[in-house]
């Protein structure tokens, strides 16, 4: 099991979820995170951005990370304050080099049907960082740009 984020800083406690490698778990996780943000009165633009980034991270973890192996899990940690939301997603796969993904916006790649997930995460969140192994992504969205 991946080591989760520290619970000891002053930005609030993390909620941890362990998901099966099953795409049906994606929607429920999004519902939980967006419910928290609605309670904190984040606007629709933020809700859309966080949902998109979370969906892409979860699908990447299940599809590319765990290879849809039902014996592997996906780990999610999230927390939010009125100022920012933080999400981490980790899988049990062998990782990858995010720098090796071709730019999907390049003319020669526009007709490729896949490869846009990481780009969308980077565009819609304020901070996106991958672990050295590439099997854990950390994302931050600030309420104010």
């Amino acid at each position: 099991m991946p080591v989760g984020p520290s619970q000891t800083d002053d930005l609030g406690a993390w909620t941890e979820k362990v998901l099966p490698t099953n795409l049906s778990a994606v929607r429920e996780t999004e519902r939980e995170v967006l419910g928290l943000l609605r309670d904190l009165q984040y606007d629709e633009d933020h809700l859309f951005a966080v949902r998109l980034a979370l969906e892409e991270a979860l699908v990447n973890a299940m599809k590319h990370g765990n290879g849809f192996d039902p014996n592997l899990s996906v780990y999610v940690w999230y927390r939010a304050t009125p100022e920012r939301v933080e999400i981490r997603v980790a899988d049990e796969g062998r990782g990858f080099d995010p720098g090796g993904v071709p730019d999907p916006t390049a003319d020669e790649n526009l007709e490729r049907p896949c490869g846009r997930g990481i780009m969308l995460m980077r565009c819609y969140m304020d901070e996106v960082t991958f672990s050295r192994e590439g099997n854990e992504v950390s994302m931050v969205k600030h309420r104010q740009p």
Binding site: R27, L52, P113, C114
Partner: protein
């Protein structure tokens, strides 16, 4: 996601409602590719009722577009709201798809 299809002139209009998320992609793929393989090569995809789209669903639109184009047709996008328009611009897929404000405009363009 709810999917409806209808004929309008020579076009197959595919109207989507709800969220085009990962769990909806299979149904979208089946509908769009089924339409192309069934002989509908001019397709208008009405996104006016869609509140969310993921990269996998975008990939389905691209695949259907390429298959339609390969058979001499096209796939046009109609009615995306602001968030979807922004995604099409961010991904530069607005350079690949022709995007219209509504189905009528898309069908009229295909007629030309």
């Amino acid at each position: 996601m709810h999917i409806e299809t209808r004929r309008e002139d020579e076009c197959r209009v595919v109207t989507l409602r709800g969220s085009a998320d990962i769990n909806a992609s299979a149904g979208l793929r089946e509908t769009l590719l089924g339409a192309v393989e069934g002989g509908d090569t001019h397709i208008v995809c009405d996104l006016s009722g869609i509140d969310f789209i993921c990269s996998d669903a975008l990939g389905v639109l691209i695949t259907a577009y390429l298959k339609a184009r390969g058979r001499g047709g096209a796939l046009y996008i109609a009615g995306p709201h602001d968030h979807l328009t922004e995604i099409l611009e961010t991904t530069r897929l607005n350079r690949l798809f022709r995007v219209y404000p509504d189905v009528s405009a898309a069908v009229a363009s295909m007629r030309e």
